[in-house]
């Protein structure tokens, strides 16, 4: 089975202070740490599990700046056979559509049975790249997939829809499968594997190698700003003992104890 995995390196913003830079359109990357987009770690694991079961090869693709190779190296350490970085720096501002156009140019002529992606990325939150790539390739797709049973040229997929309900569908391969978090338990790479992966080549594709026809973004970010706050919690002040006593008093007053 030939598997492609789409991966992205993203700033870890969930627990960090996120600032807008002087352009007003981008974040200040200086004080942030970067790591693989969480959804993509599940996509990669799903690919490795399928490879372990059915054999085959895994190629990881990332559209991003040079440091995206860190994410691709981890993919190689965890079980990807090849890794390709599409040089984002060659193609100007990207939105989800344009990113998918670049991926389309990179994968359209190579053989694959499944393309795995994460359903979304935590930085730009588009939920677009996998779905658009599937359309450009003319293959079926599914998103929010939380269980996969692949057999021959068909795969049974369980998609997580609202309220814990699942839709059970069957898809014909080749297909693009965008996974939900929690579909598996992503493995850690061993130290030996990381050392081996450090020596592997990461191919790059830039303007010289791919030049998709009609490459263009649909949208442009005009302004990045802190969301207006309509409500703000009363933050209890003091040391741990003091805030705990205050909180307990509030709960008692409200009849919640």
């Amino acid at each position: 089975m030939n598997i492609i995995v789409l991966m992205k390196r993203v700033p870890q913003t969930a627990e960090a202070e996120v600032r807008v830079d002087s352009s007003g359109k981008r974040i200040d990357r200086e004080h942030l740490t970067f790591d693989t987009n969480e959804f993509d770690t599940y996509a990669l694991e799903e690919a490795v599990l399928l490879k372990e079961k059915h054999g085959g090869t895994i190629t990881a693709f990332s559209v991003g700046p040079p440091d995206s190779q860190d994410t691709l190296r981890v993919a190689l350490a965890k079980g990807a056979d090849e890794a390709v970085r599409i040089k984002a720096e060659d193609f100007g501002d990207l939105d989800g559509y344009k990113t998918a156009q670049l991926l389309h140019a990179a994968v359209k002529d190579i053989p694959y049975d499944i393309i795995f992606a994460g359903t979304m990325a935590s930085d730009d939150s588009y939920y677009q790249v996998g779905v658009v790539l599937a359309r450009l390739l003319g293959i079926p797709h599914a998103t929010l997939v939380s269980r996969i049973e692949a057999d021959g040229d068909k795969a049974d997929l369980f998609k997580e829809v609202e309220g814990g309900l699942q839709e059970h569908i069957q898809i014909t391969l080749p297909a693009l499968i965008a996974v939900q978090t929690g579909i598996n338990v992503p493995r850690y790479a061993s130290l030996i594997a990381i050392r081996k992966a450090a020596k592997k080549e990461i191919r790059t594709l830039g303007r010289e190698e791919i030049s998709p026809e009609g490459l263009r973004a649909n949208t442009q970010v005009e302004e990045l700003f802190i969301p207006p706050v309509t409500k703000r919690a009363e933050i209890l002040e003091g040391d741990v003992e003091e805030v705990s006593a205050k909180m307990a008093a509030i709960l008692k007053e409200k009849g919640l104890l």
Partner: protein
């Protein structure tokens, strides 16, 4: 100027809430641009659904065919592409839901119209849309413009717009089923019901909910004891359920349970939009998180900004004293 189109989502014969939100936004855009709101319904046995749409749209295009009974993104995308291409709308709107995630981008790509997804608002400014989206884990918003085109497409985050009553009396237009792709590509088979466990978190008065901040599975008993001390049940946000530290039926959020307890205590939960959707209607919300900028503090009534591993034992003691 073309109409505003709203794509109708339904499941098990019921129109989804997100569709009424989308139509509310669509009516405003139609008013603003002097056009009509047209709802597009693909379904099977659609009479009841058409009736509930009439007040909300000026026109309702209906394709009634068993192929559209359940959602199938191949059939829906092909049929909607055909209809939208013929309608030439100024703007097509769809909810950003499990349905909209698959429909919006596929349709945008197929029709080659400028589109974007998961918007919290969209307005027209000088004949071009301007959308606002939430990015970077909800820490920032972005305002985006579109390349110029005769037609645009946007998906709207479910729950971001309050649905309002309409006063339209939509004209119903029945359409023939457009040509559909090979049914072998994708088949809807059945629904798998949500799992139920020994505790029903939707019925509890006090819910203590734990998130990524708990760091490791071995720390879960700490929160469990705290929940016991306050007489509450234990729930969680997505990362804890994903890691299988708590069962899936304890998950609060759009992909899990929506709850309205008297007291909700969020511990180490940053507050993704999906999580907030599931708990924001609780009577009293308390958040404990070391990140003062965590979005959960914009939904909570009271907050403690500190290390949960220090707060929990102290708060447990204070509560025990207060109970005496």
């Amino acid at each position: 100027m073309g109409d505003i189109l709203a794509l109708v989502e339904h499941r098990r014969g019921e129109i989804r809430d997100a569709t009424f939100e989308v139509m509310t936004c669509g009516r405003k855009l139609a008013d603003q641009t002097g056009s009509r709101l047209t709802a597009v319904l693909l379904g099977s046995d659609t009479d009841a659904m058409v009736t509930s749409l009439k007040r909300h749209a000026h026109r309702i295009l209906v394709v009634d065919d068993p192929a559209f009974k359940d959602f199938n993104n191949e059939f829906y995308r092909a049929a909607l592409a055909d209809i939208v291409a013929r309608e030439q709308p100024l703007m097509t709107l769809v909810g950003h839901t499990a349905y909209g995630i698959e429909v919006a981008s596929a349709l945008g790509a197929e029709l080659d119209v400028p589109f974007t997804t998961d918007c919290i608002s969209v307005e027209m400014a000088d004949d071009r849309p301007v959308a606002v989206r939430q990015v970077y884990d909800g820490k920032l918003n972005e305002r985006v413009s579109f390349r110029e085109a005769p037609s645009y497409l946007v998906s709207l985050r479910a729950g971001a717009t309050a649905a309002e009553e309409g006063d339209a009396d939509g004209e119903v237009v029945a359409l023939e089923t457009p040509p559909l792709p090979d049914p072998a590509h994708l088949k809807f088979l059945d629904y798998i019901e949500a799992v139920t466990g020994d505790v029903d978190i939707t019925k509890a008065d006090i819910v203590v909910s734990v998130g990524r901040g708990i760091k490791e599975e071995k720390n879960i008993p700490l929160v469990e004891e705290f929940a016991g001390a306050i007489g509450g049940v234990l729930a969680c946000s997505r990362p804890v359920a994903d890691a299988e530290w708590l069962p899936k039926d304890r998950l609060v959020g759009s992909s899990g349970k929506t709850i309205k307890p008297k007291l909700y205590i969020a511990i180490g939960i940053s507050g993704s939009f999906q999580h907030l959707t599931g708990m924001k209607n609780s009577d009293t919300i308390i958040a404990i998180n070391k990140d003062p900028e965590a979005p959960i503090f914009n939904e909570a009534d009271y907050g403690i900004v500190d290390d949960l591993f220090k707060v929990l034992p102290a708060l447990k003691n204070s509560i025990a004293e207060m109970k005496q």
